[in-house]
């Protein structure tokens, strides 16, 4: 199985671990990520304004490129996934945006939201299957208690993202279980870490992150796992609790990365 792959700006440098392990594990699990040529940054945040077009065009280009490849489009970063999926929803359902974006793009064939946008975790769940993943684990992470940190972007708004139950998600917990570790359920796993606000409002981000990490620690988590570089940055800056990318855990369990103690 081959997918078009949108790594995103951060995975190119600060979050190289997220990217490298994603690719390596994919190969091991029998699917391949073909990086889009000439992708542009998704913008990091989805433009909420109904009249915003220009800021959505980089995503439309990526989506259309995947369509031309005849492949589903996979992202690993929560933000990229969020932006791509929501822009794609606009292109499939909002006539005004369809028309105006296509007018700008002047593609040989208009793009109408045909591409399916997947998060890497969805490929693991729906294509590879967690049962099957479990069988491929060589270094089970037995004894580790891991708190899933979903944040906002994977889950909300659920009407568009349709990723998991927005208030009581299970995909990361199932993933953690498949790797042989024990998932820790704590209530703030879908509450905001502060996101972009941490560039200026360090204290607010700190307060939000502390609530999250303290809650997880209270439920005995010994580390947090996330799919988002910004979440990782904010949480790591404000807590003693280690925060890792899910792909790192996956790589450890599949024997691609040395086990971290």
């Amino acid at each position: 199985m081959k997918y078009s792959y949108f790594p995103g700006c951060t995975l190119r440098n600060k979050a190289k671990d997220l990217d490298d392990y994603a690719r390596a594990c994919a190969e091991k699990l029998g699917f391949f990520l073909e990086e889009l040529t000439d992708w542009q940054c998704c913008g990091g945040v989805y433009p909420l304004g109904a009249d915003e077009i220009a800021s959505k065009l980089p995503s439309v280009r990526a989506l259309n490129a995947a369509k031309e490849n005849g492949q589903d489009l996979v992202a690993v970063c929560s933000a990229c996934y969020h932006v791509l999926k929501r822009v794609n929803d606009d292109m499939a359902n909002v006539a005004d945006i369809q028309t105006r974006a296509n007018n700008y793009m002047a593609l040989p064939e208009p793009y109408m939201g045909e591409t399916k946008v997947l998060h890497y975790l969805e490929v693991l769940r729906d294509v590879v299957g967690f049962e099957n993943l479990k069988k491929q684990v060589v270094n089970p992470l037995t004894g580790r208690k891991i708190g899933a940190y979903y944040g906002c972007l994977l889950l909300r708004p659920s009407s568009v993202m349709a990723f998991d139950d927005p208030e009581n998600p299970t995909i990361l917990e199932d993933f953690i279980r498949a790797l042989g570790a024990e998932p820790v359920i704590y209530p703030y796993r879908n509450e905001c870490c502060g996101g972009y606000i941490s560039i200026k409002e360090k204290e607010q981000a700190a307060a939000l992150c502390q609530r999250i990490t303290e809650s997880a620690a209270g439920f005995q988590a010994d580390c947090l796992v996330t799919a988002c570089p910004l979440c990782k940055y904010n949480l790591s800056n404000n807590s003693e609790l280690p925060v890792v990318y899910f792909t790192e855990l996956l790589a450890e369990a599949l024997g691609i990365k040395e086990v971290q103690e």
């Binding site: 139950d165 209530p187 509450e191 809650s215």
Partner: protein, 662 residues
Amino acid sequence: MRRIGVFVCHCGSNIAATVDVKKVVEMALLEQGVVHAEDYPYMCSEAGQSHIAEAIREKQLDGIVVCSCSPRMHEATFRKCAEKNGLNPYLVEIANIREHCSWIHKDMQEATEKAVILMRAAVAKVHLNAPLKAGESAVTKRALVIGGGIAGIQTALDIADAGYHVDIVEKEPSIGGRMSQLDKTFPTLDCSACILTPKMVEAASHENITIHTWSEVEKVSGFVGNFTVDIRKKARYVNMDKCTGCGICQEKCPSKKPLNEFNRGLNNRSAIYTPFAQAIPNVPVIDAAACIKLKTGKCGICEKFCQAGAIDYAQTDEIITQQYGAIVVATGFDTIKLDKYGEYAYGESKDVITSLELERIMNAAGPTKGHLERLSDGKAPKEIVFIQCVGSRCSDDRGKPYCSKICCMYTAKHAMLIRDKYPDTNVTVFYIDVRTPGKNFDEFYRRAVEDYGVNYVKGQVGKVAPQSDGSLLVHGVDLLENKQILKKADMVVLATAIEPNSDVRKIATMLTASIDTNNFLTEAHPKLRPVESPTAGVFLSGVCQGPKDIPETVAQAGAAAVKVIGLLAKDKLKTNPCTAKADELRCNGCSQCAGVCPYGAISYETRQVNDHGIREDRRIAVVNSALCQGCGACTVTCPSGAMDLQGFSNRQIIAEVDAICR
């Protein structure tokens, strides 16, 4: 040529303010066959009707068009008026110039033009109307009540007291319904069982009432006055005649795992069980999915201990077929599922419960023997938070758009009872609005605040976060203080929206009774016929029609009973004369019409036909007018055009089409 009179109603200003009624009269007089036309402020009034009567007499009218409100409103009025004055009622047609014209248009000229066209269509139709005579059908003097909660019990008692036999069909092992699960009732705080149980006993011992518990309606056919209903009596595996209700079987049963439905799954019951101590009948049922004997063939302990020899593992479902004149739906409600409300942590924490679960916890026969305690650790809660409108008043796809109506009152009740019995437990209620219309209702709520110190906070809760110390952190807002509130609670109670019982759609389909987008049964008229379904002979009792509390349910149950009694008191019913009829000269007996008839009203007979002098035996379709409901499916299916519908004939409808497109 017909002599037609046209009567244009002003409906006060409802029509006359938008439609130039004089112009409609003037235009009517230009129509072929119209020998009389007039307008009047209120045609439906006594005086208005006398104008019609007078015109029938003086102008020898044999066709009437009334341009007025919807025929659903006053067609029957004007037909009666015609009949009283010697004219066949089916020679009256209504042009709906109110709902379909004056109320939706603003421009007078436009509305007048449309009213004229609607008048013309009605005149064109009435030219072709034939005098029809309603047939008669007998009335079976027996009623069926579907659902044995307080609504069904009350309806059944009232009908039975009037001298008619009633059968109650209840799918659970006992009658009693939701009310039997309640602890206390608002606004008087009397114990629910104390007022319900006598009614259950009365129903069970009433000579005119037969109760079928553990039974479901399987099939309904027929029509008003003559329904035939198949009732499935599910295998109980206990002989009802032999069982003495001693209860030893339940005590000895080794299968104790199944969740106790009556206690909302908060504890367990045995595989052989009666849902609660006062159950009627006091005869247990065996849950076949949990019974070791029925699953594996081994065990048989209940049989061994039953001194009455009532256990019968060989019992099978039984179908009873019974005739009824009327059917009452009293299927009640359930609370909605909360799986889409993850933010309230229901399902995640045992200490987040629904209000109905709290009823069971507060009840002496409940899972905690009436002690208010946390289901997680058995500790007494010191801080309880109630959240209102969970799933009610939601326009998203998670909840229900309506107000569930009972929650404000039962929450005040719960809060008050807790403060009364456990004065050192604090109670906070997060609300959007407190809705307490009803006799002594608002006073009740105020007592909770003023006398019992319940803390009402105007604002919703965004999230309930279970903490690692076992407490629940409630993230709410106080809109009046404009503050976010973080409240540490030991227990959170959700005022969960109610919805019609999940079986109601199936039942409504069997009854061809209409149902709204929220699965509430539709009433024949929202104000004037609130306990009747639009389907003749089907009546509504209780929450199946819309959210209501116990007093309202009992009132509506009585009203439904009165309607049933009114129907059963008649010996004969007039049938709808607008039935299908085959032209024997055109019918070739192909049988296609019978294939589409939903009522099995069409049969075939071989009969001698005189076709332009040639006499021959032909197979001809015959419509049983007592069974035919007049849908017209057969008329369109008929390849030779032999089948036509009286009152809505091909020629009549085409005449209307022509008049509109003229």
